[in-house]
């Protein structure tokens, strides 16, 4: 995994996401989800490309069911973009790096 990605739990959520000084892209995923695994390299590349401008975080929905429920995550992969602790954008499903970058750019 890219060193620019943090794994999030309910305990670290506030510190890593809500209180972050840069926008945070949170990837809700699971090991059994093929599209999540397909999206992972895209997310990892963006984490490296945008290091310092964007924090990338991953939430394993099986290990953090309460967090997933709190945000109404019913299909994965779901990406939520937070800025100032508030959800700015939601993206569902696997996508290309170019598509994801296009969706993120307005918030960076």
């Amino acid at each position: 995994m890219s060193e620019n990605i943090v794994n999030i739990t309910a305990e670290s959520w506030r510190r890593e996401v809500i209180d972050s000084t840069v926008p945070v892209l949170v990837d809700f995923w699971a090991q059994w989800c093929g599209p999540c695994l397909a999206l992972a390299p895209v997310v990892h590349q963006l984490a490296d490309d945008l290091a310092g401008k964007l924090k990338v975080a991953k939430v394993n929905v099986d290990e953090n069911q309460q967090l997933a429920g709190e945000f109404g995550i019913r299909s994965i992969p779901t990406l939520l973009l937070f800025k100032g602790g508030v959800v700015q954008s939601q993206m569902i499903g696997a996508m290309s790096k170019a598509d994801l970058r296009r969706k993120l750019d307005p918030y960076l």
């Binding site: 059994w32 599209p35 999540c36 995550i73 019913r74 299909s75 569902i92 696997a94 996508m95």
Partner: protein, 219 residues
């Protein structure tokens, strides 16, 4: 809006069947229209989004025009049926299943949609127009589609859908098991219901029949 004979059937044997891309090869027809009208060629396998504007890269104006073209009765009548849909549904009907076709098409297409079902030998008890994707204005006059809130109280023992959002709704809000027909626009995500077994991905209608030879509500 509901058309067709109003024969109440036990929910235990009532099956929900979506129309476009479950019964009719709508996306393939759309792909041809977009190619001819807007010179945009997107292979079927690359239609990764349920929203047509996203999949085909259409402007709002192009999308409006496409919708007008698509809802032309001749265009709707020309659509090809999905392989084995008629034989599977006929088999279900012959065992006493009540087949309710539930579509997100505009209610104005009721006559042509019924004619298409009859032309292709698809038995159905009712044809229900539901505003699945919030496309229709609330007070459009005349016949109108059911809102999702109204639709929620309907009961089914099985639903056949291709839309991941609608599949999610059926599972989470109505507790209906869903046979999700494999389509490029639902391949890129996993639904929560897949883990619980309430959503079953199916390659095609033959696969659906193998898995659900006689749909019935579990008691």
């Amino acid at each position: 809006m509901r058309t067709g004979p109003q024969i109440p059937a036990p929910a235990a044997r009532r099956v929900y069947v979506d129309f476009d891309d479950v019964l009719s090869e709508t996306a393939r027809a759309i792909s041809d229209v977009v190619s001819l009208r807007f010179s945009k060629r997107v292979p079927f396998e690359d239609l990764r989004y349920f929203d047509l504007d996203k999949s085909f890269g259409l402007t709002p104006g192009q999308l409006d025009e496409l919708m007008r073209l698509l809802h032309d009765p001749e265009m709707l009548l020309r659509m090809e049926p999905v392989a084995s849909a008629a034989s599977t549904i006929s088999a279900w009907s012959s065992t006493g299943c009540d087949v309710c076709v539930v579509t997100g098409r505009p209610p104005a297409t009721a006559d042509v949609s019924e004619a298409w079902l009859k032309r292709h030998g698809i038995p159905f008890t009712s044809l229900l127009f539901v505003d699945k994707y919030g496309r229709f204005p609330a007070a459009s006059g005349g016949s109108r589609a059911l809102g999702l809130d109204e639709f929620r109280s309907e009961r089914f023992c099985l639903a056949v859908e291709d839309s991941p959002d609608m599949a999610e709704f059926l599972v989470s809000q109505m507790l209906v098991p869903v046979a999700l027909m494999d389509r490029p626009w639902n391949a890129g995500r996993c639904l929560d219901g897949e883990r619980s077994g309430l959503v079953v991905r199916c390659r095609d209608w033959d696969d659906i029949f193998c898995r659900f030879p006689a749909p019935a509500e579990e008691r």
